[in-house]
Symmetry: C2
Subunit: 342 residues, 2 copies
């Protein structure tokens, strides 16, 4: 049986660890799309320092590519799966759908979105209606510390299932998700599992990502200090979690009872850990504001669930995102004596 | 008639301009308390570049002092007025009352608070029940650009009146406020006027200070960009102004109809002006969070007025203030493996 062809788009920490795991399983051959780290990896391969896999030196996936391959060309075979681990910034072009489009074979390629937040599948359902769409929610801890150098401090942990409301039959999408898990984790050694309840998995992770991520960015504060202050939890994090729970419930998802307690205990207390969105903000990067904050708020409005905290936090995050867009040349301030606000 | 003795505490931009104006009027002799700028002023005097007074070189008030004079000592005459232009940070010691206490002669000295926000008089009413308390709300633009160098770009503009609910008879307090205006502005050339409706004056200024100040600090954004973005006004500034108006109304103050429009047009649009609280935050200074944000919110709660935006903004500002306190050594983060949040 020929190996599955998997394209990994976004080969940072999570992408590199997934590429490695997929090839270790023996059932997949990975093409990794690399941009900033292409030259380093072409020359030296990837070095991995992993709590799970140990020290790995100069590893190379089957193929690397500087661009997303164009499968309309005769010499490129179609991909069975595209794993997307890029950040998801729908308020900026190109979007995820734009980026992967050249590599998608209609009716064949299953698209795995290893990204956080709510409603991330919607633009892809619209753009690729004949392709199964798979959700991966990862709790893996992995960062690229330098081009081609990966530090993996929490073992691979993913919950994988098919998104719903697809135009492809749900059993086909479910089967694609199960096959992906089987390819990724063929002997069941990894904590990478099939979970059919994708909405529940995604809303559950949002309890952290929709609360600690934006608040830490706004305060530029690590999560132990947020807990030490107590008021940051009481005034901001707890209300946000309460609102997210209520919105999820209105959307038909009952989040586990102990989720708030788990979220408050999930980070270490003895190191000044800052969530990824805060790290992005401090680096001047664009942030995943829409899928972590904007979409939950829009769901709240759709269901008529009060979300006063989320609403203000979203307003602030859009302001911070505007600054990031300006730094990236995606927005320009135009000063004039006229008041620009009507 | 001997001149009035005025002690000016906090001789930065506004304090220096007030000291100068008071002595120019010919009816006051000023003792200026100086800390960081004492040596510079002792040596060279104060240089003023003023839109109102022109270029003033090496000006010296009647006296300067490194400390607040102790009037219990036999050789120090009592003060008729103490003008306080320091920042007001009641969440940190020493408070304004602590700072001025040595210079207050009970039953005699009138205390003029040239500071922003709501309920700033309360700790002083409690501490100095026999002293008239006077409110000054200043729209003067003045900054100390270097020790003893003052840049005054907006002409002196103050609304002055007595606080209410004093234990001294209100007519005595009102008379003290009118006398202060008469001493400050003896020939009526300055826009420094008596206004009996202190609550209205203070709430009106809060429309700006309770909205643009905290939001600009949180976003670290100048006010023209906030207006350019439009959403920062619609999502944050406008709701805050609406809540402040409603709280004021519940407190018996009808803010002028056009206040929102005025506030949105009060800053220049062609320079990247950041409000003072934002400048303080970016310098790592403590901020006037309690009187500009916390007290209005507590008034909202007292009157049962919904203030969801102010509540979240206050939660965030307390978090930013905690960082400033940590930088100043007023709070210490204690890291341990234990979760500090119960």
């Amino acid at each position: 049986m020929p190996k599955c062809r998997v394209l990994v788009v976004g080969t940072g920490g999570i992408g590199a660890m997934s590429a490695y795991a997929l090839e270790q399983g023996g059932l997949a051959e990975v093409t990794a799309v690399m941009r900033s780290n292409y030259d380093a990896v072409a020359k030296h391969g990837i070095d991995i320092d992993s709590v799970l896999w140990g020290q790995v030196s100069s590893w190379r996936p089957t193929a690397i590519s500087k661009v997303v391959p164009d499968v309309s060309k005769a010499d490129i075979a179609p991909f069975d799966y595209i794993l997307v681990t890029t950040k998801n910034i729908p308020d900026v072009s190109p979007t995820v759908a734009d980026i992967i489009a050249p590599a998608v074979t209609p009716g064949k390629t299953a698209i795995v979105l290893s990204q956080n937040g709510i409603n991330i599948e919607r633009p892809l359902l619209a753009r690729f209606p004949s392709n199964p769409l798979i959700s991966s929610v990862a709790y893996t801890g992995a960062t690229e510390t330098a081009p081609g150098k990966i530090y993996n401090d929490d073992p691979d942990c993913q919950k994988i299932g098919a998104f719903t409301n697809q135009q492809v039959p749900q059993d086909v999408a479910d089967a694609a998700a199960k096959s992906y898990v089987a390819i990724y984790n063929p002997d069941g050694k990894l904590d990478v599992v099939y979970d059919a309840d994708v909405p529940k998995v995604r809303w559950r992770k949002l309890m952290y990502n929709g609360s600690f991520n934006p608040v830490s960015s706004i305060l530029q504060m690590d999560t132990p200090r947020m807990r030490m202050s107590k008021h940051v939890i009481d005034d901001l994090i707890a209300p946000l979690m309460g609102e997210i729970r209520a919105i999820a419930k209105a959307a038909g998802v009952e989040i586990q009872e102990n989720a708030e307690t788990s979220v408050l205990h999930q980070d270490p207390n003895d190191t000044a850990f800052k969530p990824s969105m805060c790290q992005d903000y401090e680096k001047g990067n664009l942030m995943e504001v829409e899928n972590l904050v904007g979409e939950p708020l829009r769901e709240a409005d759709r269901f008529g669930v009060p979300a006063p905290t989320l609403r203000i936090i979203y307003g602030i995050m859009k302001g911070l995102q505007l600054k990031a867009k300006e730094r990236k040349g995606l927005w320009k301030a135009e000063f004039s004596p006229e008041n620009p606000y009507k």
